[in-house]
């Protein structure tokens, strides 16, 4: 095989390799299934419980994507506001850092008091956790406009709005799309945390229920389901990034 075909094959080879190693270790040391189930046990659980895994995965995907979309809208809006005005920046930044430092799992009980258990706290936790990196990245993109570029446009009589529309916003788009990749994976963290603490459905809830019944392979099957969802969503974000801000990734065009 040529070098480039090896690179294309590498992710699959490594993944298969990891699972083979895992299986070997479990068999070799005869680890009991409640400590570490072998991939074949997990696969058996996936097949056996396919229907609940599918239903709960759809629920988790739904809450995650909804929370993520709210984070995109809110993060973009706040990021633009912060990048626009130094006064808004100075006022909001410390607040946001404080807010981001609060572990989101600690917020879930409050959300439950307000909205009851179920979908809404999961969506909101996903939103809260995914929102910060988007704000920071959009604001950074706006804050790092070259001063020469700004001078050139201001000397032409450009208003602040012109500079934002012509330079600031297009310029912050690579930062924005890069932050989406971080935000979507964080959104999963948020929704699953909330499902584990307070929900009647979702992968987090399913795993908690399986754990209380000592159905360890199903717990692991839940983890695998989350990993697959995470990879798919990440890949979609990476694809969007390439499609919409290809100019920032010159190696692939030039």
């Amino acid at each position: 095989m040529t070098q480039s075909r090896w690179i294309t094959a590498a992710p699959w080879l490594w993944t298969v390799g990891l699972f083979v190693m895992w299986e070997l270790v479990v068999r070799l040391f005869e680890l009991p299934v409640y400590i570490l189930p072998a991939p074949t046990d997990i696969w058996a659980a996936i097949v056996k419980y396919w229907s609940p895994i599918w239903k709960n995965s759809v629920q988790t995907l739904f809450t995650t994507v909804l929370g993520f979309l709210l984070a995109v809208v809110g993060g973009l809006a706040l990021g633009l506001a912060i990048g626009w005005s130094r006064a808004i920046y100075a006022g909001l930044y410390p607040l946001m850092i404080g807010f981001n430092s609060v572990p989101k799992v600690a917020v879930v009980p409050i959300l439950v008091i307000w909205f009851g258990i179920g979908t809404i706290p999961a969506v909101l936790t996903a939103f809260l956790i995914a929102f910060f990196p988007i704000v920071v990245n959009v604001a950074t993109g706006l804050a790092t406009i070259e001063p020469e570029m700004e001078d050139v446009l201001r000397a032409l009589g450009a208003r602040k709005m012109d500079i934002m529309l012509k330079v600031g916003i297009p310029r912050s788009m690579p930062y924005f799309f890069a932050s989406l990749k971080v935000a979507i994976t964080l959104a999963f963290v948020g929704s699953v945390i909330s499902e584990t603490v307070a929900a009647n459905s979702g992968v987090g809830h399913m795993m908690l229920a399986a754990q209380s019944q000592f159905n360890v392979p199903l717990v692991w099957a839940g983890l695998i389901a989350l990993a697959v969802l995470g990879i798919v969503m990440y890949a979609i974000m990476a694809w969007l990034e390439m499609r919409l801000t290809g100019w920032a990734h010159r190696g692939n065009q030039g």
Binding site: E148, D151, V152, W247, Q253
Partner: protein, 263 residues
């Protein structure tokens, strides 16, 4: 004296009143319409500040600035600017970068949509003039440094500014490319007859291109000499190897060396 650009007794300091840095003090220059002026001086003498003053990006604490017969109190839209950093927008094609000022400056801004074809042709002609014909579709990062700087000049000139402000536009280029661009600049000026103020630390560049050279002192900057350059135009590039040319370069060099030791 009434020129196209007049700075009279300008004083400017940065920072608050206690620890303010005096950047320019009692600085006066006058540039006639269509004249090519160069400003040279030791580094840190406030050359770039001068650019910002003349385009109205900053306002002096004392003195007056007039451009095209009007006192400057805010950004003047008759100016085009080019800096050492070409600062092309990487998501726009070269042509679209060159046409950016048309999206800002009136009356082009209002007409751009309806007369798109005519404006595009104009931008392509300008690219042709600087030797970038056919490169309009390329993205800036597909161009070499010298080509980007040519495009930068086009962007500064697309709205037919009466005044062109250049801040070390050729400073980051290799010697051969720089000489090529001097000739491009010479030809552009000969064809369009705009007024130019070129800030540079390259004395040969100043002598080759300019009709008049202002020598600045070290900070706080002020004009210590005004030198007319009277070589016939169009000037061949071989001029830079001639005795009279080097005489002037030497003279300027000595002035600046003195200005540096005084500081």
């Amino acid at each position: 004296m009434t020129g196209f650009v007049d700075l009279r007794n300008v004083r400017l300091s940065y920072g608050s009143s206690e620890d303010a840095t005096l950047a320019l003090d009692d600085l006066s220059i006058s540039v006639r319409q269509g004249e090519f002026a160069a400003v040279v001086g030791p580094s840190g003498c406030g050359k770039s500040t001068l650019m910002k003053l003349a385009t109205g990006l900053i306002v002096p604490q004392e003195g007056t600035i007039e451009v095209a017969g009007h006192e400057v109190s805010g950004p003047v839209s008759v100016a085009g600017m080019a800096f050492q950093n070409p600062s092309m927008l990487p998501w726009r094609s070269t042509l679209s970068n060159v046409m950016l000022p048309l999206e800002i400056v009136q009356p082009h801004r209002a007409r751009l949509r309806s007369q798109k074809a005519a404006y595009t042709r104009k931008a392509e002609e300008l690219l042709e003039l600087v030797g970038l014909g056919g490169f309009g579709d390329k993205f800036p990062w597909q161009l070499s440094g010298g080509m980007q700087q040519r495009a930068n000049l086009c962007r500064a000139l697309i709205h037919d500014p009466a005044l062109l402000m250049l801040d070390e536009p050729f400073g980051a280029l290799d010697a051969f490319t720089r000489e090529e661009l001097w000739q491009v600049m010479r030809d552009l000026h000969a064809e369009k007859r705009f007024t130019v103020i070129l800030v540079t630390h390259d004395l040969r560049e100043a002598v080759y291109l300019a009709d008049k050279i202002f020598v600045m002192s070290a900070r706080p900057g002020t004009i210590i000499r005004e030198k007319a350059v009277t070589f016939d135009r169009p000037r061949p590039i071989d001029l830079i190897y001639e005795h009279d040319f080097n005489e002037i370069v030497h003279e300027l060099r000595d002035l600046i060396a003195d200005a540096r030791t005084v500081s």
